[in-house]
């Protein structure tokens, strides 16, 4: 931990947050928000949270920015002109924000010191994870072992939350019949655009390697930063790259809507299915050590490692399908005809 670096990155983060709120153009706000996310990612690497930083780089800086772009593309990029009579509500908002800040500043005196290794948060539960993960599960990356094994129940429902979010976006936006679409506004068109050979060629060359890297991230999450969430988001982002550089239709050709929703289901089912398999084998739900009865040539410790790999694959499939589905729905306003 280098406090000079910490300080400068935090200062830049505050500047970016101010600029995002104050800027008048929504596209600029989305880009500055992407820069904000990248600075956040630097800050977390600096604090030792590499997995969080990786997630932020793929999710916050990558997919969130693209989603903001898609939403701005479908609506309008200009923020409306300031009107009189809003001064009172702004003053109230300022007072509310300042009051919250005051309460937090008062509470700040009771916080444990920053970067103190002997705070209550670091003394009760986490020492067990730190000392026992290699012994229990043979997984050196503690974040993966806590995520997928010790707190596997939690992660299963997080995956279910992502899945529900994807379903909610489809339920809100999707218009299946042609006659339901007459009231949709035409998207804000930046430019018509002609097929650009350079971009298409490079995107075509890069996409297989991006997907290979995503699979590496999923499979190597036991030993390095990464895992199902990050790998799934990168897989989804590779399809989004195809959709942007080529055509909307090409992604639908590879990954139709039916397949997309089906894959989301399959991912969550793989996770829950491994849990139920453990139940059938006579252990607790998501207790992978009993999988050694099914998997050949594994003892109980390696079975936990392999079980984690299985659920990471399920998470990656679900997250990939949901990210693609959310993007396609937002960018085409639920029409699935043309996009960015």
């Amino acid at each position: 931990m280098i406090w000079q670096l910490d300080l400068s990155v935090l200062t830049l983060i505050v500047i970016c947050a101010f600029a995002t709120i104050m800027v008048k153009d929504l596209l600029s706000a989305a880009i500055i928000f992407g820069a904000y996310s990248f600075l956040m990612c630097l800050l977390w690497t600096e604090m030792g949270a590499v997995d969080v930083a990786f997630t932020e780089a793929s999710v916050g800086a990558g997919v969130s920015t693209v989603l903001f772009f898609a939403a701005v593309y479908q609506t309008s990029r200009k923020v409306g002109a300031r009107k009189s009579g809003r001064l009172l509500s702004k003053a109230f908002a300022l007072i509310a924000a300042l009051l919250t800040g005051l309460v937090l500043v008062i509470a700040e005196a009771d916080f444990p010191g920053f970067a103190n290794p002997f705070t209550p948060a670091s003394l009760h539960l986490s020492p067990y994870y730190i000392t026992q993960t290699l012994h229990d599960t043979n997984v050196p990356n503690m974040v993966t072992s806590v995520l997928a094994d010790y707190r596997g129940f939690d992660t299963m429902f997080e995956t279910a939350v992502i899945f529900t979010a994807g379903l909610a976006v489809i339920a809100i936006l999707r218009r299946f019949k042609k006659e339901d679409r007459h009231d949709l506004p035409e998207p804000y068109v930046i430019s018509e655009g002609y097929p650009d050979t350079i971009i298409r060629f490079v995107a075509r060359q890069l996409v297989p390697f991006i997907q290979l890297f995503a699979l590496y991230v999923v499979a190597h999450g036991h030993h390095s930063p990464g895992g199902g969430f990050q790998g799934g988001v990168i897989l989804g982002a590779s399809f989004i790259l195809l959709a942007i550089s080529f055509d909307f239709k090409i992604v639908l050709g590879i990954m139709s809507e039916r397949w997309n929703v089906l894959l989301g289901n399959i991912g969550v089912l793989i996770y829950a299915g491994i849990g139920f398999l453990c139940l059938l084998l006579g252990a607790n739900f998501l207790d992978y050590s009993m999988l050694s009865k099914v998997l050949p040539a594994t003892d109980k410790i390696m079975a936990r490692s392999h079980g984690m790999l299985g659920i990471e694959i399920g998470v990656a499939i679900a997250v990939m399908a949901i990210v693609i589905s959310i993007y396609l729905n937002i960018v085409s306003h639920g029409k699935y005809d043309k996009g960015l």
């Binding site: 930046i190 430019s191 018509e192 350079i198 995107a203 890069l206």
Partner: protein, 108 residues
């Protein structure tokens, strides 16, 4: 070895500095993107090469693997960054942004 690493990092930082000045001071969209695209790519490549060398303080299999991974990142940046710059400039051209010219009275 350490000296080479320091020299490479400093060179990369100089290029980054020039890129930043270019983005801030150039007169129009196209020349600013020119500074961003070229300087950014080159300085990232140089700093990553410095990292590869720094990694070789003692040569064994693990260090070699890490070095190969960093070199793969270098290849990725070398392909992706100029393409991104091209895409942005292309979008600007299609949106018919006028390039900066010298004023007529200065030419004569």
């Amino acid at each position: 070895m350490t000296l080479v690493v320091i020299l490479l990092t400093l060179t990369g930082l100089v290029f980054f500095f020039a890129t930043t000045i270019g983005i801030l001071r150039f007169p129009d969209f196209y020349s600013r993107m020119h500074a961003a695209g070229k300087g950014d790519t080159l300085s990232s490549l140089i700093i990553l090469l410095a990292l590869v060398l720094y990694n070789f303080h003692d040569i064994n299999l693990a260090n070699l693997l890490v070095a190969i991974k960093i070199l793969l990142i270098v290849v990725f940046i070398f392909m992706a960054s100029p393409t991104a710059t091209h895409a942005i400039i292309d979008a600007g051209y299609e949106a018919s942004i006028k390039p900066w010219m010298k004023k007529p009275e200065e030419e004569s």
